[in-house]
Symmetry: C2
Subunit: 692 residues, 2 copies
């Protein structure tokens, strides 16, 4: 698909501006090395090449074929290609699943034909792809008509673009070119009937011609291949920058109107991207900024930022941005600060380092300051803010010489030059090895992303989380049954006993210790409090007896048809932080674990963390710590610190349970989990398991 | 200061690259119309102009004078200028408050000399200013050495830049120029010893040569003039875009190291900017995007966004951005959608409107779609996303003709073209009247800002809030006294009585109704619960008697030296939402009112809204509605809706109290305010007033 030695164009046009003409024209003018075979029943020659009336007449089996014929003919063309053994078809033809149900059926036929012949199929309804170094341009974009050179592709880096949208994919490619970023390979996937975005990312992860992957998606359609591809990219140390649109309610609605996508939850996709260290870009510019800053291929796992500036104000601005990006800006060592203060008496040598207008008189000071920051400060990322000095006829050359001397000794750092300079001067600085950003705040976002890539690359592959053996019951268990299942999987519940009569309840309460909570047990009642099925603070034996009678009366009155299987007696825990754990099944990515603090945090603020199941204890703790409400578990408001490790173990155990339980498990809701002070544990106080 | 007819340069240098030489060189080459008088005791001529040995020798009184002499000589120069009646001095000289205490003293002397002569003084330690249309360049930036034309200033719009930082101010000016935005007037304020940022914004609000104001600050030093200036700009319908750095803890720390600024709280400044409809930009690029989009001077008070696109994906991305910016994207009317569906069968005609690749065959469809959006959809802002089509040799001219025909009939809309095109093509589109953004998400941010400007311009000036008569007691009142003071100002308290003995307490409780709350009254105890001074749920007369004894015992044990003036008996309210109201005194902007939801919202999430006092009831309600936790007052979690109007009245009354109370009022903390269900009111349950 990406690197064929021969290409057929089914529906080739002699007009180089038509859909069936453009790929041919581009491949001829960009010198594709192998044979290109136009197929056109009405012409002997197309754009100067010998043409063939149909697929069967081709002089050989093409490694790839473009299908650019009208809807009615596409199926036959794909069938003919498959019969001849062509391994890859790129289908431009539209009018399939994006249109109506008949189109969906036609698309399903296309896929079944391709699969029947073991042929990969890109599209249908796609714009195509290109691999510029090979002169391979099976794409009908008008981009190459605009007078921009396409080959050799100018610019730095080797960024592959994988985009569901054709129009947006070429927009991105054009914008990258304008920024001086090379994009040798661009693939648009259209309807993704067979080849998906995951396939393309996977190919790029393995392709030596690609160093950075920029992806665009309106909704991931296929989970396993996508996950495999992200892991392959991580192992290959290739950063993935991805724009996944539809994150807002309005956007998600627009996405549904636009594609027939059955995209899973946007938040789940976001969690998956985070898991693999993918940078989720919020807009095109951030996408390009991060990809651009990835081109030096320096990914510091422990990234720190040092700033040397001639503007105190810019230093403050950069500090604001660094804090937002959680990028550390540690101060310079005290002795180095002392030395700098000798060089420039009123400078600020901490970090940001302000070397003041003093440097206009003596540019060697810039070199001394920059060297101190690299060698004494040890920063992995550096921003030198020199604004218009970067273009000053009298000063720029001196500045460049000073910085280059330091850079030459430390090429392993990420160097950003924040200057205002004309494009040709910017290209010179880039050739020296600097990333050039006019806006220093944008530089911070891009640098922080490189550190996150580094951290993701440095992580060992996800350790296999040991899964318990789970045997789900025939029907949804009651609360006691649910808790027993989870307890067997390693998620402890509050000490409790399912009791069958009033004397058994009294006995259990005595054993567990007062006060206790009493709850109705019934497989038919999901929300006990709604039927008066929960009693709190039951203080003594008499109260247990009275409570038993009351619960039975409430059940009879409010849920007369429910089967009551007994009464649950449990210790009433106080002083705990209430947390909710849960499992939901995502249509694309399978079971997903959720954690959030109880009360307003989930319901009003939607403050939850998500991760695919299973998660190990380390990941589980990271999820918990990422909550905005985490301070409540960490000793805020004068509370003792809660037992976060125990909560992390519970979350990990729940996720392993869900991963082991299989597709019949629809959801789990463990709410609340009572998290006691450090060392005292975390216990499920309620659990609901739903089966599908 | 901004438009003199004659200029003196004290410390003029013959070298056009020195600090005392650059302004002269710039004014000569840019043709300042009036006389320019160099002062230099060592030369007869400076840069070809007749020079004078000192200020007294000048042939006239200059309208403005540049002071570019070394520190020791600056004071004498300012004094001499003042004596001759020069009304404005621009002091480049550094070594003042930014350095040390001696510098602070020297700076105070400078100000006192200037004020003594009624002379305005810019700086010291400033880079200067320029007013390009006059050829007036009292500035020592190197920017004009870089081969960029400075006069006539190219570009669109008339954006004035007011910047505390010289280096950053010129960075902004250079970046604006690179973007094709004209900045005829730039003023840098340096140490702001006399002229402040507020002065400069005020001048620009009145200057007909300025349409948009871009300001940069590390901390506002002077409140009243700044407020006056923002209100003047609002009245003149001139948008203010401001970058106030130091919003993060790290940034604020860096700002303190950088300047001797006594900036008030960053959050308070943020609230002030919001009050006047100032757009607070997060980075340079957003600053320029918003200023650029302001240049057509179209500020729709009710701004809606319509999107016409050839990429469904871009439409989704724009929808995401619009939701984040709270910019409405209402759908097209149904009948218009029907009509569009006839034109292009598989288009998506709602909004974003996707007119599909069909338009490549027939560009008149773009015109039809765009016209429908303007005339039927009635959108005030439009984004047309056409990516590389905007540069296509075969299509761009047709696209332009189609859009221009619609635009010509509706020049009152904000039209954005999101295209990828070379700079010269972009300039053509701009000349047609479009704003051109490569990144459509950035366009949304800039367009949404224009709507907020419009809404701020449309607001009537802040109505005077009637202030109560407040007589503060000689020393801080106890809780009962505090509540009485606030109740007199219109903030009702929970029904309660201050009682002097146990029988009076029983009598009061009977009158108020059980259960009651009992609290110690003492002017010496601020936090009652810490000494065991609060009893909740006191259920009957016996409990009142027992409680009385217990409170007295707790006071004796835990606060033996406190004077106990009695016991407060109050109704215990249940079913209320707890809210905190407060007043703090900002060193720059005076008393500030705060509202936040109780518990985790304030302590963990810092979810509060701030506004200068006084606020009227409408503003108060807007503050309450802006809280992230507002859903809790609005019926979330199955609660009844709370009495938000009553809470707004309470907040407004508290703010009026603070505004009337004068400088002795240090702070007020009304926590909790119990907000009952709709129609039932909001009552202060505790109040602490601190006096300074």
């Amino acid at each position: 698909m990406l690197s064929p030695r021969s290409v057929a164009v089914i529906g080739a046009s002699d007009d180089p501006t038509r859909i069936g003409g453009r790929p041919l024209s581009y491949m001829i003018s960009r010198g594709f090395a192998g044979p290109v075979w136009p197929v056109n029943p009405k012409r002997d020659r197309v754009q100067g090449l010998a043409a063939f009336p149909d697929v069967d007449a081709l002089p050989g089996v093409p490694d790839a074929a473009i299908v650019a014929v009208p809807g009615a003919l596409a199926e036959a063309a794909v069938e003919a290609l498959g019969r001849r053994g062509c391994p890859a078809a790129i289908v431009f033809t539209a009018g399939y699943a994006e249109v109506d149900e008949a189109g969906q059926a036609a698309q399903a036929r296309l896929v079944s034909i391709a699969r029947g012949h073991g042929m990969r199929l890109l599209g249908p309804n796609c714009l195509g792809l290109f691999n510029a170094p090979l002169g391979y341009f099976p794409i009908f974009t008008a981009s190459f008509e605009n007078g921009w050179p396409a080959e050799p592709l100018p610019g730095r880096g080797r960024v592959g673009i994988a985009s569901q949208s054709g129009a947006y994919g070429t927009h991105l490619f054009g914008a990258a070119r304008n920024r001086g970023i090379a994009t040798p390979v661009v693939v648009t996937t259209g309807n993704e009937a067979e080849v998906t975005l995951g396939d393309v990312i996977g190919w790029m992860a393995e392709d030596d011609g690609i160093e950075v992957i920029a992806a665009y998606s309106e909704g991931v359609r296929e989970g396993p291949r996508f996950l495999e591809a992200l892991e392959a990219a991580r192992r290959a140390r290739k950063p993935v920058v991805m724009m996944k649109v539809g994150r807002s309610a309005l956007g998600a609605h627009a996405a549904r109107s636009h594609t027939a996508s059955i995209a899973g939850d946007d938040a789940v996709t976001g969690a998956v991207l985070e898991e693999f260290g993918v940078h989720r870009a919020r807009n095109t510019e951030e996408m390009l900024d991060v990809a651009y800053a990835a081109t030096p291929r320096i990914y510091p796992a422990r990234n720190t930022l040092g700033v040397v500036s001639i503007s105190g104000g810019a230093g403050v601005m950069i500090s604001d941005a660094a804090e937002e990006q959680a990028m550390p800006m540690p101060p310079m060592p005290e002795d180095a600060q002392e030395r700098l203060r000798v060089l420039i008496p009123y400078c600020n040598p901490a970090n940001p380092v302000d070397c003041t207008a003093q440097v206009f008189n003596d540019m060697t000071l810039v070199g001394a300051f920059a060297r101190a920051m690299v060698e004494d400060g040890g920063y992995t990322s550096l921003i030198a803010f020199f604004t218009q000095v970067g273009a000053s006829p009298s000063l720029a050359a001196k500045l460049r010489a000073q910085l280059n001397a330091v850079r030459a000794d430390h090429p392993d750092r990420l160097w950003v030059l924040s200057v205002l300079a004309p494009p040709e001067r910017v290209r010179e600085y880039e050739a020296d090895g600097y990333l050039v950003f006019e806006d220093p705040s944008r530089a911070v976002v891009a640098l922080a992303a490189q550190g996150r890539f580094g951290a993701a690359f440095a992580r060992p592959p996800r350790a296999a989380v040991p899964l318990p053996t789970v045997t789900l019951p025939a029907e949804a268990p009651d609360e006691a049954g649910a808790k027993r299942l989870l307890e067997e999987a390693g998620l402890p519940a509050v000490p409790e006993a399912a009791t069958a009569g009033v004397e058994e309840a009294v006995e259990a309460a005595r054993r567990i210790g007062f006060p206790v909570v009493m709850k109705l047990l019934s497989p038919d009642i999901l929300h006990k409090s709604e039927v008066g099925g929960v009693l709190l603070g039951v203080a003594d034996e008499a109260a247990v007896r009275a409570g038993h009678a009351r619960l039975m009366a409430n059940a009879a009155a409010n849920a007369p048809s429910a089967r009551v299987t007994g009464i649950l007696v449990a210790r009433q825990v106080s002083g705990a932080v209430e947390v909710a754990l849960g499992i939901a099944r995502d249509p694309v990515f399978g079971p997903v674990a959720m954690v959030g603090l109880g009360g307003v945090f989930i319901e009003v603020l939607r403050d939850v963390a998500l991760r695919r199941c299973p998660v190990d204890v380390t990941e589980a703790e990271a999820m918990i710590r990422s909550l905005r409400g985490f301070p409540l578990l960490d000793g805020a408001r004068g509370r003792p610190r809660a037992d976060v490790p125990a909560l992390a173990r519970a979350l990990s155990a729940l996720s392993a349970f869900a991963a082991a339980a299989g597709e019949r498990l629809a959801s789990v809701d463990v709410n609340p989990v009572l998290v006691l002070p450090e060392g005292e544990g975390a216990f499920a106080a309620d659990a609901v398991i739903e089966l599908g």
